[in-house]
Symmetry: none
Subunit: 216 residues, 4 copies
C-alpha cells in the first residue's frame, strides 16, 4: 500500500471566483457543528482547504462571515415564498398547503438547510440585527404566505372560521420543530424520521381539524 501523493503538486491554486462560495460552505458546516463562538477561523480555513489569511481576502471578519452565510441562505427562501404567495392558483387551498408543507419538510431534511435557522436561533442573542432580518424576510414572509392562504380557505368556506395567523403557526410548527430536533438531538444510530411521513399525517390532521363541519 503506497502513500498516495497528492495529485496536485502546487501548494495552492488561484480561484478568486470560487473562494467565497467555498468559504461560506465550509463556514456553514463548522458553525453548525460547533457553534459560531466555538469555531476558530482556522477550522473554517481547514474545512475550505485554504489558509486562515485567505478568508480575510474575502470577508472582513468572522462576524461578516456569519452574516454573509445567513444572507445567502435567506435570499432564495424569501424569494420563493414571495413567488408562492403571489402565484397561488384558484380553487381549494388544501392541496396547496399540503404541497407547501411537504416541500418545506423535504428541504429542511437537508442538514445544510436546517442548519441556518438553527444558527440564527443560537446567535440571535449576540446579533439581534441578524435575528430581526431573518424574522422579517423568512419567518414573517412564510407565516404571511400560509396565513393568507388559510384566510382564503376560510372565506371560501373551505375551512371553518378561526384565527388564520394562529392556524398558520399550527400548520408549520410541526415541520419546523422536527427539523430542529432531528438536527440537534440526532443520535448516530437513529433512523431519521422520514419528513414526508410526519408532514403527511400532520397535514392530514390539520386539514381535518380546520375543515368546515359536515352539515348538521
Amino acid at each position: 500500500m503506497t502513500t498516495p501523493r497528492h495529485t496536485a503538486s502546487k501548494r495552492w491554486t488561484r480561484q478568486p471566483e470560487e473562494r467565497p462560495k467555498q468559504i461560506l460552505d465550509a463556514a456553514l458546516r463548522v458553525f453548525c457543528a460547533r457553534g459560531f463562538a466555538q469555531t476558530r477561523m482556522d477550522d473554517v480555513a481547514r474545512k475550505a482547504g485554504i489558509s486562515k489569511g485567505t478568508i480575510y481576502l474575502y470577508f472582513d471578519s468572522k462576524t461578516a462571515l456569519l452574516e454573509a452565510l445567513i444572507e445567502r441562505a435567506m435570499a432564495p427562501v424569501a424569494t420563493q415564498l414571495e413567488a408562492m404567495a403571489a402565484s397561488a392558483p384558484e380553487g381549494p387551498v388544501a392541496p396547496l398547503l399540503q404541497t407547501m408543507l411537504e416541500l418545506a419538510a423535504t428541504r429542511l431534511a437537508d442538514p445544510d438547510v436546517a442548519a441556518v435557522p438553527l444558527l440564527v436561533i443560537g446567535e440571535a442573542g449576540r446579533f439581534p440585527h441578524l435575528a430581526q432580518h431573518y424574522r422579517e424576510r423568512v419567518i414573517e414572509a412564510g407565516l404571511g404566505a400560509i396565513t393568507s392562504l388559510i384566510q382564503r380557505g376560510i372565506r371560501a368556506r373551505e375551512f371553518r372560521p378561526l384565527d388564520p395567523a394562529l392556524a398558520a403557526r399550527s400548520l408549520i410548527a410541526t415541520v419546523l420543530l422536527q427539523a430542529i430536533w432531528s438536527t440537534v438531538f440526532a443520535r448516530p444510530d437513529d433512523t431519521p424520521l422520514h419528513p414526508h411521513i410526519l408532514a403527511g399525517q400532520h397535514v392530514d390532521i390539520f386539514l381535518n381539524g380546520v375543515k368546515t363541519e359536515a352539515r348538521r
Copy 2:
C-alpha cells in the same frame, strides 16, 4: 429551627446554603441573554451580586455551571411528566391533552423556563451528552406521555387510527416552537401572543382533526 453554623461573628447575612441557587439563577439569565459562550464568569458573578472567585467555590467550571443549570431545570419537568403519565384518570383523553398543553404553554411563556430548551439547542453541538440527557429525560418522556395518551384515545375509538407518536409531535410542536420564537425573535414593541389563545385554538384544531369521524 435552623442550626446556625457560625456564632454571629460574620457580617454578611447571605447563607452559603443559598449560594448555588443564586448563582444558577444568575447564570440562567445571562446565559440566556448572551448565549453560553459569550457570557463571562464576571457577568454571572455580577448578576448574582458576588465575586467571580466565589462561583468556583460552588461549581468546578463554567461548563459545570451550565450542566447544573440544565439538570436543575430538567428534574421537575421530568418528574411531573412521569407523574402525569402514571396517574392519568380514566375516561376520554381529550380534556387531559388540553389541560396538559395549556399547562405547557403557560409554563413556557415564562422566559426563564423557555430559556432552558433554547440553551440546550444552542449548546448541543458542544455538549452532546447534555443534549442526549435532555432528549431522554424531557423530550422522550414528554413525547412518550402524550403518545401513550393518544394511543389510549385511539384504542378507545375516541380518536381515529393514526401513528400516535407522530400525532404527539403534531400536538406539542406548536406550543414549543412558539416558545422558541417568542424568545428568540421577540421585538420590544411586540404584544406577546398570549399562550393560552394559541394553545387553545391549536388543541381545538388538533382534536377536531384526530377525532373519530362522526357517523353521518
Copy 3:
C-alpha cells in the same frame, strides 16, 4: 556557587497600588529601546515582572499605555514651566535663562526623561492627537516662557531688539537636540558629553550674541 532561590516563594503578590507605576516605567523603557510598534506587550510585562494579562487590568490597550506614559511625563514639565513663567524674579533675565537652560540640560541628560520627547517624535505620525497635546502643553508652554523672558530682556534694553520667539528657539534648540542625539546615536563606548558643559558654552554664546551692543 549555588543557584539562588528566589526569596519570594509566592508566584506573585498583590500590588494594586504599585502596578500602574511599575507598568508605565517598564513601558517607557521598552518603548524607548525598541519603538512603540516593535514592542510587544509581553516585553512590557516581562520588564515589569508581571504577566501580559495584568497590564490589561490597568490599561485598556497598548495605545492607552503610550498615552498614559506621555501624559504622566508631560504633567510635571508643564506645571513647572507655568510656575517658572509666573514667578520670574525681577532684575536681569540673563541669569534666569542660564539657570533654566542648565536645569533643562540636566533633566534631559536622564535617558528616561529624554525618551519621552523621542517617543512623541517617533509616534506623532500615528497619534496626531498625542503630538498636538504635547505641542500645546510642553513645547508651546516652554517656548512661551522663554520667549516672554527674552521679551522682558529686550524691553529692559538688556538685550538688543530681535524677534523673541525665534531667539527662544535659538536658545533651547542646542540643549534639546543634544538630548535627542545622545539618546539616538549614543555609542556604548562614548563618553557622554556632559550637559552642563554644552549648555554652559551655548548660553554664553547666546547671551553674548543678544546683549545690547556696547555703546559705540
Copy 4:
C-alpha cells in the same frame, strides 16, 4: 544611445530602470507619513502605482527598502559636506557659515529632505547599524566641517576662543530642530516659519556671540 532591451512587444512604458527610484520615492513619502513600522508594503506599492509583488523584484525586504532609502539620501549630503570642507575659500569664515546654514535651512524646509533624519531617529532603536552609519557619514561629517571652520575662525582671531565642537552644535541645532519640529508638530493651519528668517537671526546671534570682543 540607449540599448532597448525588448523589441517593442510590451505595452507598459515605464522602464524597469526607473522602478527603484519610483519605489524609493514612494517609500519615503509613506514611511514619513506613517512611520516605518506602520507602513504596509501595500501602501508603498499603491503610492508607487505598482503592485506589491513588484517591490520584491527590486528590494529584498521592507528593511532593505528603508536602508536603500536612507543610503540614497545620505550620499549627496555626505558628498557635499566633504566638498565644502575641502574647498572652503580663504578669508573670514563667518560669511561661509552663514551661507551653509541658510543652505541647510532651505534644504531641510523640504519635507522630503527632513523626513530622512526623522526616519533615522525613529528607527535607530531597531536598526542600530543604520543609525551608526548615518551618524558617521552625515552627523559627524557635518559637525566636523562646521567645527573645522570655526576652528579656523578661532585661529584667525575672528572668533574668541571656545570649544569649536560645541560651538558647531550651537550653530546647527536650531536649524535642525526646527526641521524636526515643523515636520512632527505641523498643524494644517500653520503658516510655516520661513527657514531663512529663523536661520538668519540665529546665525546673527551666534556670530555676534562668538566674535572676538571689540576692544572698547
